[in-house]
Amino acid sequence: MNQLLQCNTLKKNYSQTTILNDVTFSLEKGEHFTVVGPSGCGKTTLLRCLAGLEVIDGGDIILNGKSLVTAKPEDRSVVLMFQDALLFPHLTVIENVTYGLKRRKTSKKDRIRQAEEMLEKVKLTRWNNAYPHELSGGQKQRVSLARALVLKPDLLLLDEPFSSLDATLRESLRGEVRELLRQENISSLFITHDRDEAIEMADRLAVMDNGEFIQIGLPYEVVTNPSSIESAMIIGEGMALEEGFIPLNKVSAVNENEMIEPNFISIPGKVTAITVKNNQPCYRVSWEKGTVLVTSRTQLHQGESVYLKAGRGTIKNYINQEKHRRQIQ
């Protein structure tokens, strides 16, 4: 694979507040890169800087070997899909989809053909002449996706495009989007605060906190081996303790009267919900730093005080955060 995007020490400040602090990463052609982080950590600002909607205060953005720092946003081969579909309300579906093609001086015949093909791919064939107010939320996002993909940009930026949809639709749509991106061979940078969405959409995953990338790696690697307590709390599937991270499959819940062996650690918690996962009862247990969904050998009840138990040997130490940041750079 060839390198598509290289971001070097990106900086962005608003007044005295640092929003992006030396963000450095690269993206290969055809790669799907996801950034996950809590609200307000700088994810959207990062996308807006890449799209040219914000002027960076330092660093460089190189796309296909050329610096984008002085390029006008409308001249970049980068398309941003916003949280809302943002369809032009006075234009029909087909007019919305051909909007960008017209700006690129594609002939009328070609733009209609390309738009119709793309609408077929997003399963909206019969809606060409409908206006946005006649579409459902999911359909609007499909049109927005078609409008972005039809331009065949070098890089598609997706700013939590499914956040306004209900859970079922969100799940089905993200699968379709991933498939379409692969079919069209378009690289993507997807940002989200949803852990599951981040893992599912990513070839590679970056965890962002306070304007910095605190960990980059393969999704499985990041989820099971977070490099710091911050990373563990954002993306880790397990319990983030000060001394290290315990993967979720090593944790179980026990009744508070049960004896705990000395080579196990125990953390007090409370059962807040009972559910079924993989055909067996699971308990959502809240503890000091969050909640976990765990199994138990004994039957537990809602509201019951329990201990979360894990073998001492299962605790994975965090990599020193400073050292890890240097490795990223």
């Binding site: 799209a51 040219g52 909607l53 006008k72 946003p73 409308e74 001249d75 980068v78 398309v79 941003l80 916003f82 809302d84 943002l86 032009f88 309300p89 006075h90 234009l91 087909i94 007019e95 051909t98 909007y99 960008g100 017209k102 700006r103 690129r104 009328k108 733009r111 209609i112 738009a115 409008r147 331009l151």
Partner: protein, 271 residues
């Protein structure tokens, strides 16, 4: 039963609304039309004593009428055009950007509403004389901005705030430059505001007597300058005739502007 009662109630409300509309808007206009063709119509007579076209004859006998109508339209078009040119960027900047001194600029732009226009015009007259703009169309156009621009900015600003910045940014990332963005996104979505701005500034400019008289110095003769002296006369048919011309001009203007704007929007937004 309840359903048919509801329908009856709704029908009655609609009829009442139509009657109210006729009473408030159509009836006064019809009265003025009738008055312009009347020969003597005194209180408490329900109808005029007779009908004729004397009033209209007097209006059209005035040699400067046609020229005054053209001057008025030319002036009002220039005022509307300048208002659009100034109010659109100003409103966009005020609604989109945050910058130091924004509130001072806002207050300054709206100040002509707070100070009587005639005071500003008196003060401005000396400056306009100095720059050779007094007694000229350009000077009158500039002075007509005083009572119109603050309203124009307010109207456009409300439009931009309603529209938000999202669609604008969406157009940017899809490759639209500033002019195309304005024509394809802002113009169609701001059309209600633009329509209000054009109609309001046209009507305000059309009604200016004092400002035109002070700065125009009698050289720039607009319809009000021709029309107001007739108030001292007793021929109400003439006054009614002038009022009809006054009322028709903005309607004609807004109708033409609407057609032109829609043609432009349709042309730029084709697939």
């Amino acid at each position: 039963m309840f359903h048919s009662l509801n329908i009856g109630k709704k029908k009655m409300t609609n009829i009442l609304i139509v009657l109210l509309f006729i009473l408030l808007f159509i009836l006064p206009f019809l009265t003025i039309i009738m008055k312009s063709f009347s020969v003597g119509w005194r209180w408490p007579d329900l109808l005029p004593n007779g009908f004729g076209i004397e009033g209209w004859k007097i209006i059209f006998r005035d040699p400067s009428l046609i020229e005054a109508i053209f001057t008025t339209i030319k002036l009002a078009l220039m005022v509307v055009g300048l208002n659009l040119l100034l109010a659109i960027p100003a409103a966009r900047a005020l609604s989109t950007y945050t910058f130091h001194g924004k509130s001072i600029i806002e207050a300054f732009l709206l100040s002509p509403i707070l100070i009587p226009g005639i005071l500003i015009a008196m003060g401005l007259q000396f400056t306009l004389i100095q720059y050779g703009l007094a007694d000229r169309m350009a000077g009158v156009v500039l002075v007509h901005l005083i009572p119109t621009l603050p309203y124009a900015i307010r109207i456009m600003r409300a439009g931009y705030e309603r529209m938000g910045n999202g669609l604008h940014e969406q157009a940017i990332v899809l490759g639209a430059g500033p002019l195309i963005r304005f024509l394809t996104v802002s113009l169609p979505l701001l059309l209600p505001s633009i329509r209000s701005l054009m109609l309001l500034t046209f009507v305000i400019s059309l009604g200016q007597y004092a400002l035109t008289a002070i700065i125009g110095g009698g050289t720039v003769v607009t319809l009000p300058l021709l029309y107001y002296p007739y108030f001292s006369g007793s021929n109400e048919a003439v006054i009614a005739g002038f009022s009809i011309i006054f009322a028709l001009l903005p309607l004609l203007f807004i109708g033409t502007a609407e057609i032109l704007l829609r043609l432009v929007i349709r042309a730029v937004n084709r697939v």
